[in-house]
Symmetry: C2
Subunit: 189 residues, 2 copies
């Protein structure tokens, strides 16, 4: 087998998710994932530290993206628009593969250890956005309100995206923008 | 010991919470709770089915309160105002004892089984509000957006209430109303 394989990461991810769904996360081994993807274990470990990382890689980069999005807002930006910028950067960084992400969510929902990891990931992102807003001098209680609401809207947009993909191929950033506009509209009366 | 004891429920609750915090939930027995409260085990079981119920009683009544609040809204009420009515009814039903509830949250945060129970309780309340809104013909995606946002604001108000009680004795319904108004204001620009 040659050292270089086309789209090795994507093939390993898909093979892992399929196996996690068929057999459960606990019962799946790295050897099985590599075999299903038609690759070697060595190739697996070139991309992922372990079988859990298949579900959670890229988090450091996501943090950076969010921090940069907030930092690049003009000093005159309203607190709400700063949160929107952070959420839009998050949405834009999500790979445009809703079926894959839906499958990922189903796998995580079946395993308490993975659920905890996912909650920690979300809490860490919330922490990053919160800190970035506080550094701009926005008062703590307002920051919390904005971030909690923003994350709620993001989650609604995300669910719409993975659920509604077949009906209309809107992107996650589009659905996020729509949900934010919708919230403004329903709050207005 | 007489059959009737003044404020037996409240004394048992406080004794239970103190012990859960000192020794952990798992390590505390009903006998110890009764002893600490100066009551009998028999009295304990007159109020609570088990030691977990000390933390979760009153849920059926809360459901009723929320369903009634939604049902009593005029047919002309906007979807947002229906959600607000549900949240205000929830807020008004919470006992005005923020220190006690803060202690309860700390106990729950230390025990995964209790955390899961608390999440189920919240999910069940969200389900009740969602169903009540859908019965009014409000489209599913909008319902989800409203409920998720509403719950986020409620949680922010609740946290402010238990954290800020010493500074100003505002009630939970007041803080909820303030947080909703604040959200409208920050979304407006």
């Amino acid at each position: 087998m040659s050292r270089w394989e086309p789209n090795a990461r994507g093939r390993l991810e898909q093979a892992a998710l399929d196996l996690y769904q068929e057999r459960g996360f606990e019962q799946t081994t790295v050897a099985e994932i590599a075999e299903r993807a038609g690759l070697t274990e060595r190739t697996f470990f070139r991309y992922f530290a372990d079988k859990r990382e298949v579900l959670f890689w890229g988090q450091g980069r996501l943090h950076e993206i969010v921090v940069n999005a907030v930092a690049s807002q003009p000093v005159t930006a309203s607190p709400f628009n700063i949160v929107v910028a952070a959420l839009e950067a998050m949405a834009a960084a999500v790979p445009d593969r809703p079926e894959f992400l839906q499958q990922r969510q189903a796998v995580i929902a079946q395993n308490p250890e993975l659920q905890e990891r996912e909650l920690l990931k979300m809490a860490s992102l919330i922490g990053v956005i919160t800190e970035a807003l506080q550094q701009r001098g926005i008062p703590g209680p307002t920051v919390r309100l904005l971030v909690e609401t923003g994350i709620a809207v993001y989650r609604v947009a995300f669910t719409r995206w993975v659920d509604e993909k077949e009906k209309g191929p809107r992107t996650l950033p589009q659905l996020l923008r729509e949900a934010l506009d919708e919230l403004k509209a329903v709050l207005a009366f």
